[in-house]
């Protein structure tokens, strides 16, 4: 079994499956926070997916996407937290 095959047909599906599971939580909610956790986790998994894809296609450039993905996912979480508190304050 070549590494490429292993990555593309075993690891990547597992990661995508995980992403889908996370997405189930996103759909279920029930709170906005649950969705935010899901999105955050989704992005983190995305980092993994992109990393694996970079290895499988031997394109190191994709790893940079992983980096930015990680960076920005965090910012999204910060923003939503900001929102939750602001909204509470506003009530």
């Amino acid at each position: 079994m070549s590494l490429e095959y292993y990555l593309l047909y075993i690891i990547l599906p597992i990661l995508v499956l995980s992403a889908l599971l996370v997405f189930v939580r996103f759909l279920l909610g029930p709170h906005l926070s649950d969705r935010v956790v899901s999105v955050d986790l989704l992005m983190t998994i995305g980092v993994g997916i992109v990393g694996v894809y970079a290895m499988a296609t031997a394109e190191a450039t994709f790893l940079d996407i992983a980096m930015i993905l990680g960076l920005l996912a965090f910012l999204g979480t910060v923003a939503f937290s900001y929102y939750l508190i602001k909204r509470k304050k506003n009530d």
Binding site: Y9, P13, F23, R35, T61, D64, L75, A79, F80, Y83
Partner: protein, 758 residues
């Protein structure tokens, strides 16, 4: 000729400034302008056409002075001279006197241009200018609502006619290949194609509106809201004759058309009868004169319609006669109004004591109008009967009799009745200046003089007769001998006088007309205008209803309609399902996530959850970009999505939650429309993707990116080099957006600024 026109234009521009600074006593001297022109036209021989300016095809400044032009030009300048002089005194305290002289000069110039033009488009230009200047003149007393609405009504009707004339001119040019009026007849196709007929109809529309033919006549009585000198000049002697002039002018080209005689005689007959009878029921002197003017115009159209040498001669002569007596009567009316502040014939009597000169003028004008021998009117009336008898117009002759009787009656009402009878109280009548009684007197005397010496106008009329393409001019003479014509003529006089004597005007008759007013064309016009308004309002608010979502839906519906029409015209499904097999689990998973995210965004009841859903979708799209070899896109998409989420978050926390939910039916309808639209886009995409691929541009980039542009990331090289101009614009968009955000959130107008929308 051009210098005359230029002088008029210069006067039009200069007089509004000059006149208010001119001592009132000097103002009648402005008549030097029309007087000089009058002399010019009197002395200038009939000329070949002069092509003066051709820089702007198809319009040529192309002038020609022939007999017809000269007849009209002399009327325009001659009566113009009197009106200028008269108005200098009549309007001396009017605040709009400067404007008056400006516009009336413009009007005179336009009218002269109109009668001198030998180019269809130049004629049209002058035509429009007469409409516009008359609009301003009718509205000279702009403080009065009546004047304003009359001006608008007049302009509406004549403007419509003007556009018809434009249309007709264009069609004529297309079909004859020329705009030269004197060449039209020669180029007219013998069989009168549909196009020519259309042009004829349009020309008629122009002529009928301008010359106040039934049912377009109603604006003319309204136009009497203008000060009397204006009514004199525009609505009796000159402007309204422009339509008649046009018919004269084009008769050479069109008279052979099978519709010419039936249409014109019918319209003319209806108009003259309708207006003449109407005149019997009026007691305002101006109103009476307005209706008789319409009737006279009807008579002219009627005779032009017959298109025989004799009828043309009669019509041409009547133009002159009518101008003389109608202008005189109008000026008298003005003078009477000026002296007594009323124009109601029921209240006026015995003015001959206080206004003897005017009384003389009135009497003479009434006789001239009635066609009593030896006035020129008598010759005119005889010629009419003669022409009709010559055509064996069995209905025409008695009809003309009725009309003539009514006109005689009306002339006596205005020219005789106010001066007859017991004198009015001394205080109610003020003296009138020499400037007010001399012009009408001059005109009436001229009518008498011409009657005695018909050879004076003879040359004028004969030349005009030639110009309209007729032959066999019969020299004018006062006495024709005892014949059938004389009998009809005398019958007319007798009937008219008896009628005047035994059926005097009284108040009750007024009521009769008001009862039928609702069926009049004026009422029809009002009804049409208001229906149009109503329709326009309904139509406009049907489309412009204010609901944004239906605007969007309209756009989408247009797209759906157009695309499906074209797509299914020659449709063959081009998508193949083969590539489905290559699909891997991770692609499918990503797509599934994108899809589910989409559904979630659409249906979630929470705004913030929708925003989070957008984040998920953006993420899935980003993954797709990764899988399909677009790293730059993936990064950018993701960065922008994050920023968008942040913006939403910063904005949304202040907003309340969604409240309203659309009904199921609405959701269903919207869903169906959107899905159809989306489906079409998908189909289109599949169709396009199965077309052969063209790659020369991207192949070039692939080869040159490093070699010539020194970069290895081809996308970025495109962005900063190959298509760098796009990027420069794109960042401009960003900075504008930022400036906009800054302004939108920081700028607060103060209350007084808010009131001052500036």
């Amino acid at each position: 000729m051009l210098s005359v026109l230029c002088a008029c234009v210069i006067a039009a521009l200069g007089l509004p400034v000059l006149v208010p600074r001119l001592p009132a006593a000097w103002r009648p001297s402005l008549a030097i302008l029309p007087l000089g022109s009058f002399v010019y036209f009197l002395l200038t021989p009939i000329s070949e056409s002069q092509l003066l300016l051709t820089e702007l095809p198809p319009v040529h400044l192309w002038l020609k002075l022939d007999g017809l032009s000269r007849l009209f030009a002399l009327l325009i300048t001659g009566i113009g001279t009197l009106v200028y002089a008269y108005s200098g005194y009549y309007l001396k305290n009017h605040e709009g006197q400067g404007r008056f002289y400006g516009f009336i000069s413009l009007f005179m110039g336009a009218m002269l241009g109109l009668v001198l033009a030998n180019d269809l488009y130049f004629l049209f230009i002058c035509w429009e200018l007469t409409s516009i200047s008359s609009f301003f003149l009718i509205g000279l007393n702009q403080q009065e609502a009546k004047a304003r609405s009359a001006a608008l009504q007049a302009l509406t009707v004549t403007g419509l006619g003007g556009l018809a004339l434009l249309g007709g001119a264009v069609i004529l040019q297309i079909h004859t290949g020329t705009t030269q009026i004197d060449a039209l007849a020669a180029r007219m196709p013998a069989d009168f194609s549909v196009g020519i007929t259309a042009a004829l109809l349009l020309v008629w529309a122009a002529a009928f509106t301008k010359s106040a033919q039934f049912p377009f006549h109603f604006w003319l009585p309204g136009a009497m809201a203008a000060p009397t000198p204006i009514s004199t000049y525009l609505h009796s002697a000159t402007m309204v004759k422009a339509g008649v002039y046009l018919l004269f002018r084009l008769s050479a080209a069109f008279a052979a058309h099978p519709w010419w005689t039936p249409v014109l005689t019918t319209v003319g007959a209806v108009t003259m009868l309708y207006a003449a009878l109407h005149a019997l029921f009026r007691h305002d002197m101006k109103s009476i004169l307005a209706y008789t003017t319409i009737a006279a115009l009807g008579i002219l159209v009627f005779f032009i319609g017959w298109a025989s040498p004799l009828s043309m001669q009669a019509a041409l002569l009547f133009v002159l006669v009518h101008a003389l007596y109608k202008a005189a009567l109008f000026l008298i009316t003005g003078a009477v109004d000026h002296a007594t502040h009323t124009r109601n014939v029921l209240r006026l009597h015995g003015l001959r004591k206080q206004l003897p000169a005017l009384a003389v003028a009135g009497g003479l004008a009434a006789l001239l109008n009635g066609g009593f021998p030896p006035f020129l009117g008598f010759i005119g009336k005889d010629l009419m009967y003669e022409a009709l008898l010559h055509e064996h117009a069995v209905i025409g002759v008695p009809l003309l009799l009725v009309v003539n009787v009514a006109l005689l009656y009306a002339g006596l009402q205005v020219g005789y009745r106010p001066f007859a009878g017991s004198a009015m109280p001394e205080g109610e009548v003020s003296k009138v200046s020499f400037w007010l009684w001399l012009p009408p007197l001059l005109l009436a005397v001229l009518g008498l003089l011409f009657g005695f010496l018909p050879q004076m106008p003879n040359a004028l009329i004969a030349a005009a007769h030639v110009a309209v393409g007729s032959s066999g001019f019969a020299p004018l003479q006062l006495w024709h001998g005892f014949n059938e014509v004389l009998a009809w003529s005398l019958a007319t006089l007798l009937a008219g006088v008896l009628f005047f004597r035994f059926w005097p005007m009284n108040r009750e008759r007024l009521g009769w007309t008001e009862k039928v007013e609702m069926f009049s064309p004026a009422a029809l016009f009002t009804w049409l205008a208001s229906s149009l308004q109503l329709f326009a309002r309904r139509y406009t608010s049907f489309f412009q209803h204010g609901y944004l979502r239906y605007y969007v839906m309209t756009v989408v519906a247009v797209l759906i309609g157009g695309i499906s029409l074209l797509l299914f015209d020659d449709f063959a499904f081009k998508g193949s399902f083969e590539p489905l097999l290559e699909l891997t689990f991770y692609e499918l998973g990503t797509l599934a996530m994108l899809l589910a995210g989409l559904v979630f965004v659409v249906f979630t009841p929470s705004r913030l959850a929708a925003v989070a859903g957008l984040g998920v979708m953006g993420f899935a799209i980003c993954l797709l970009f990764v899988f399909y070899s677009a790293p730059d896109l993936a990064i950018t998409q993701f960065a922008i999505d994050t920023l968008t989420v942040i913006l939403f978050v910063l904005v949304l926390y202040k907003l309340p939650r969604y409240i309203r939910v659309s009904s199921m039916a609405v959701v269903l309808r919207d869903g169906v429309v959107s899905l159809v639209f989306g489906g079409l886009i998908a189909l289109l995409a599949l169709q396009v993707i199965h077309q052969p691929l063209q790659r020369s541009v991207s192949t070039f980039y692939a080869a040159q990116s490093y070699v010539a542009a020194k970069g290895k990331n081809v996308v970025n090289v495109i962005l900063v080099d190959f298509r760098g101009a796009d990027t420069l614009v794109e960042i401009t968009v960003l900075s504008i957006a930022a400036l906009g955000v800054y302004g939108l959130l920081k700028l607060r107008l103060r209350a007084e600024e808010r009131r001052n929308r500036a």
